[in-house]
């Protein structure tokens, strides 16, 4: 059984001037259910030009075979508050850890509430078996995170 996940990402100008479809949208096809060896097949069909920042995705396999832990890094996306990058650690097809190694450093997003960080991880952990397929938030700086997490998840 092959699972097909297609993520079309369209960048847009304007907070509410929604949906300016970018024909260069990233298109990622992946097949995981068949990959009994735990490897991940990621095929970038088009390119990552949809993002205004350079795509810096990477997949690191730390051990071969089933249950291998992979580290998936989302694009570094920037917004008016700074850069955001999300790293998702995957064992088999389950998310075991979500980390945000690159915090926004400027603007009025303020200091990071360190107590809140484990909650994010815990929430993501609880969703591991079925993925956090999407993130709901108000438009704006949320976009950077959503996009970044989205690109990391799209590699699953």
């Amino acid at each position: 059984m092959k699972r097909a996940l297609l993520a079309l990402v369209a960048t847009v100008a304007g907070v509410l001037g929604i949906f300016n479809y970018n024909p260069n949208a990233t298109s990622v096809e992946l097949a995981t259910a068949d990959d009994v060896d735990g490897s991940v097949a990621v095929t970038a069909v088009d390119n990552a030009a949809a993002s205004s920042v350079p795509a810096r995705q990477s997949v690191t396999t730390t051990a071969p075979g089933q249950g291998a832990t992979r580290t998936l890094k989302g694009d570094v996306t920037d917004n008016s508050y700074g850069d955001v990058q999300v790293v998702v650690e995957v064992s088999g097809n389950k998310i075991v850890k979500v980390d945000v190694p690159k915090y926004p450093t400027a603007g009025n997003s303020g200091t990071i509430n360190s107590k809140a960080v484990p909650k994010l991880k815990a929430a993501a952990l609880s969703a591991q078996s079925a993925d956090v397929a999407s993130v709901s938030g108000a438009t704006y700086t949320s976009e950077a995170f959503k996009k970044s997490l989205q690109t990391a998840l799209a590699q699953l």
Partner: protein, 284 residues
């Protein structure tokens, strides 16, 4: 200021169909969203909505889409006691102000258009033969069918720590729409007496209403939480100005709580999740 705060349309499809077929339907859907944008964008001077606002186009001559959206806006404006008001919203919209001039009544229906557009997109996806997918436009989502045979799980963005998820909701054939403080000034104007929220997420069967309720309730502030909770079939998860999370009782049906937060962890987690309580309990 440069408009760097672009939003994103993401289509996530889990149907087991040839990838080319899926891609073709997604392309049609995004094309359709682009058409909608051309009609409703307040950032395009020549959009119907701006020509209408400047009085260059009469409501009579506007397209059926515009009629439909304006009618919905009026319905929700009345239902929300005026909290959702596309004319008042326009006064506070940087996009609309650029278009404005003396003696015109600009309108800013963006709080309704996004949900309405997602709804249209869902129709296009379905008529293209897709059953299991999400349409996410700028953080408002409709989830159709299932995600690999399981309910869709949607993360709710933390209102102040934008790169964090504060909770996860799951379901099938449901909408999740969020309004937050960071979009205030874009299309939501607060009345002076309102006690502001950090964010409000509305979950329910219909994405048009979920988006409208989230927008209206955010404008209503804390009073908006109970207002949404009183709407049949819609649930609410809100974060107050103090960082307290309040939700309607029925929200538990959607929430996926991490085990360590759902029981016995209150002392350690007096943050967003630790301090949540059912709204029904809060009323007593």
């Amino acid at each position: 200021m440069r408009e760097l705060m672009g939003t994103v349309a993401i289509l996530d499809v889990r149907d087991e169909l040839p990838i080319e077929d899926i891609e073709a339907v997604c392309k049609s859907t995004l094309d359709h969203l682009e058409e909608i944008e051309a009609v409703f964008s307040t950032y395009r001077p020549d959009s119907e909505i701006n020509r209408l606002g400047r009085g260059e186009l009469s409501e009579q001559d506007a397209s059926p889409w515009v009629h439909e959206v304006l009618e919905l806006c009026e319905t929700v404006r009345a239902a929300s006691g005026g909290a959702f008001d596309i004319r008042r919203a326009a006064e506070n919209s940087p996009a609309v102000q650029h278009q404005g001039g003396a003696g015109v009544v600009p309108i800013e229906p963006s709080g309704m258009v996004k949900g309405w557009a997602i709804d249209r997109a869902v129709d296009v996806m379905r008529s293209g033969g897709l059953d299991n997918f999400t349409v996410n436009v700028g953080g408002d989502i409709y989830a159709a069918g299932y995600c690999d045979d399981a309910p869709w799980q949607i993360g709710l963005q933390h209102p102040s720590e934008s790169q964090m998820i504060m909770a996860v909701v799951k379901g099938s054939e449901f909408a999740v729409a969020t309004s937050g403080a960071y979009e205030r000034g874009a299309h939501i104007e607060m009345l002076p007496e309102v006690v502001a929220l950090q964010s409000i997420t509305v979950v329910g069967p219909d994405v048009v209403l979920a988006d409208a309720y989230a927008t209206a309730a955010f404008a209503m502030g804390t009073a908006g939480i109970e207002w949404v909770a009183g709407q049949s079939e819609f649930e609410v998860f809100a974060v107050t100005g103090e960082g307290e999370a309040l939700m309607s009782a029925g929200m538990e049906h959607y929430l996926v709580l991490p085990p360590e937060l759902s029981e016995g962890a209150e002392d350690d987690n007096r943050g967003v999740l630790g301090s949540q309580e059912a709204l029904s309990a809060h009323r007593e």
